[in-house]
Symmetry: C2
Subunit: 85 residues, 2 copies
């Protein structure tokens, strides 16, 4: 039975993930990454990984789900930055 808070959490996870998609899609379509800051994206990547670990430890599944997708989206941006410089 989903706790009421989980609805808020899953909504945050969905919207939060949407925030990364435009940049991820734009980066992989254009293969242009010189305007992107590797440091900033690594900071964001470490944040979503930490929230993911925290979500597992707290069994806060919306956090886990939301951040898995963010890890993939931000990870794709960092990967593109490393490849295309």
């Amino acid at each position: 039975m989903l706790v009421y808070a989980d609805y808020i959490g899953y909504l945050a996870a969905i919207i939060g993930t949407l925030c990364w998609l435009p940049q991820t899609v734009k980066t992989w379509r254009s293969r242009e990454t010189k305007d992107l800051s590797l440091a900033a994206n690594l900071l964001v990547l470490s944040t979503v990984v930490l929230w993911f670990v925290y979500g597992i430890m707290m069994e806060a599944w919306p956090l886990v789900v939301g951040n898995i997708i963010s890890i993939i989206a931000v990870g794709a941006i960092v990967t593109a930055k490393l490849i295309y410089k």
Copy 2:
């Protein structure tokens, strides 16, 4: 007594907040916001507000603390965008 998970959570909150500061500072120093997407920043703002509410409901204090600061940082970007267009 801080639960071990809280250390992870507070670390995520601190790093996560750092991610927004460069943009917030740059925006308020330059007063230039035409390159910023209001829609994207509103999406981010609603995300941090939702995680803040979720954190309160789950009594996950790292989430609450981290997202209060993010609300201020992202809120400042949205405010600047609305003022300076």
